[in-house]
Symmetry: C2
């Protein structure tokens, strides 16, 4: 399976069928193709890392979604970091590291049209390269714009974050602390709850695997909830919304509890009306025009220790389909990454 | 039951028990009390008209709501118009007509504290008095601020209004036409559908009592829906949300289909996320500071024929509990009013 630099092989995960429930390796065909040939104004990119995200699960399905689903037989869509190994483009130089839709394969093409959104990462950043997928990349930007633009935190607000030990939630909570909020996280298990309080500085953590999580939620939010940064949906969302204050805000980032089931992601609308809640669905790319501003701010916070970047790295492209399930099993803390090939020393 | 001016009696509907399902007259005790005595800085008000609104049903229940529920044994809460018949207040003069919470009774007290929100209606308005409860009163203001502040209509937008022949919906659609929207209304029955198109100028009407209403909804909104002014909830809301466009807006004014059942008012959250919909729950009193501005604009539109004010008047306070069911049975067109006593000639 390993590719050699002499005779490169492009391993690709192609979607065989839409997963039902948990993702299985057999939902994909792992094929070996020749690397693509870059055309004019294009570059060849070798994948270094894949970013595993809940949105991968959405793209595998045919549910109503914000990009077209991955077609059956097509290479699985996914973000990542890659190294430019050959270039016919003035925009990409050999040795550049790019961020974008590498997809689940060893090699991809960076073009000058924005179709796979391959952007060159500036050299000399004060943060580790992998942070450019996490706290300073799409994940961090999701947290940053969702919280600041839609949540509009004010000093003293109570901010509730679900999936709080995950890649997005962990950054949301830390930005909330920077902005002076009381930050309460919901996570599964004692380890995650300790992590967000002791490592990330959350004010309180609620373990939804305990029988008394509803009482713990009430106890941790004595003045109600001003902002609910919603990542999970389901009965946790219902319980959180029941505690939201008048004129509170709810950036709707995801509903991960519903992605495997394929069922409608339903919830109670009555608090929206009675408490005049403002709910805003969003996707990070809504803010593409401001990514540079956001990344600079996030990198400063990470470099200054105000935001801790935590990641889990799984070795080997071949493990991507198994690894992505960690996002839905509650096994993951921080940013989940697959290492595909070795990055050059920066 | 009739009150005479010589020995006035204050008939009051007091809530006996919280209605289950449809409202029954037996859910109330109709008692005859002495009229209240106005204290210092207070005035005695004789009720002229009651405004019947879906919110009456909410106040009767103990569901999560935006004011305290009416207590068992207390006079039923409700808005109306009244005549000042005696005054110890510089703010209210005998002969003034006031608008506010008269409640379901013949006599009430207007105080200088804003506890029952009794405001004097200016004399010489260019619209009929009862319009001050409808298109130029709370009903019209609900439509005006919900649509303009939360819906943010732009010329060419497709505006969808549910309960479109009702008091609020009929004004929403007409304001939408003034703002250059394509306006599509959902209503029950051929009469209401003809009314909103032929009398009010809606571009299209969908009769939800027909088996093909989903197809009709699709046909009437070929470019999707930019604003959904939501009044009903339930399966109609789900079907409408499934057609909402990217970055569309949804002022959530009511969910009348759920008020009688007492069940959670649930809906599908996935379009909010995938289509980045902004949902804003609101209550007209959120905009109390701008009521004067809104009423003046609405009165100009009504006087100028741009907004048609349509009302149904039921005679007699004793009929209020039966009449209010019309709002939930789909029997009502326009503003539903109970005439309690004769207004002076203006």
């Amino acid at each position: 399976m390993a590719s050699s630099h002499a005779t490169p092989v492009n391993r690709q995960f192609r979607l065989r069928n839409r997963p039902v429930g948990r993702i299985k390796t057999s939902d994909f065909d792992l094929v070996e193709a020749a690397p693509p040939e870059p055309g004019e104004r294009e570059a060849l990119v070798r994948t270094l890392y894949l970013s595993l995200d809940p949105t991968n699960r959405i793209w595998m399905s045919d549910m109503d979604q914000y990009m077209p689903p991955v077609e059956i037989g097509a290479v699985m869509r996914g973000g990542g970091l890659g190294l430019v190994v050959q270039s016919n483009s003035a925009r990409y130089k050999e040795g550049d590291i790019v961020s974008g839709l590498t997809n689940w394969q060893d090699y991809s093409i960076a073009g000058e049209r924005p179709d796979n959104m391959m952007g060159v990462i500036p050299k000399g950043l004060p943060v580790p390269l992998t942070a450019m997928m996490g706290a300073c990349g799409m994940t961090g930007l999701t947290a940053y714009f969702g919280l600041l633009e839609h949540g509009r935190p004010k000093e003293g607000d109570t901010l509730l974050v679900s999936a709080a030990a995950g890649a997005v939630g962990s950054v949301v909570g830390q930005i909330g602390k920077i902005k002076g909020c009381r930050v309460v996280g919901i996570a599964g298990g004692a380890d995650k709850c300790r992590f967000i309080v002791e490592q990330l500085g959350f004010d309180a953590a609620i373990d939804y695997k305990r029988g008394d999580w509803r009482e713990a939620l009430a106890a941790a939010t004595p003045e109600g909830i001003d902002i609910n940064f919603e990542n999970v949906g389901g009965e946790i969302m219902d319980a959180v919304m029941a505690r939201m204050n008048l004129y509170s805000r709810m950036p709707l980032c995801g509903m991960i509890s519903g992605y495997n089931s394929g069922e409608l992601m339903r919830g109670d609308f009555s608090p929206i009306l009675m408490r005049r809640i403002r709910i805003s669905g969003f996707i990070v790319t809504d803010f593409a025009a401001k990514f540079a501003e956001g990344s600079v701010q996030l990198a400063q916070w990470v470099a200054g220790g105000l935001i801790k970047h935590h990641e889990t790295i799984v070795e080997g492209l071949e493990n991507a389909p198994v690894a992505v399930n960690r996002l839905f099993d509650g096994q993951n803390i921080g940013k989940l990454i697959v290492k595909v090939s070795e990055a050059p020393v920066q």
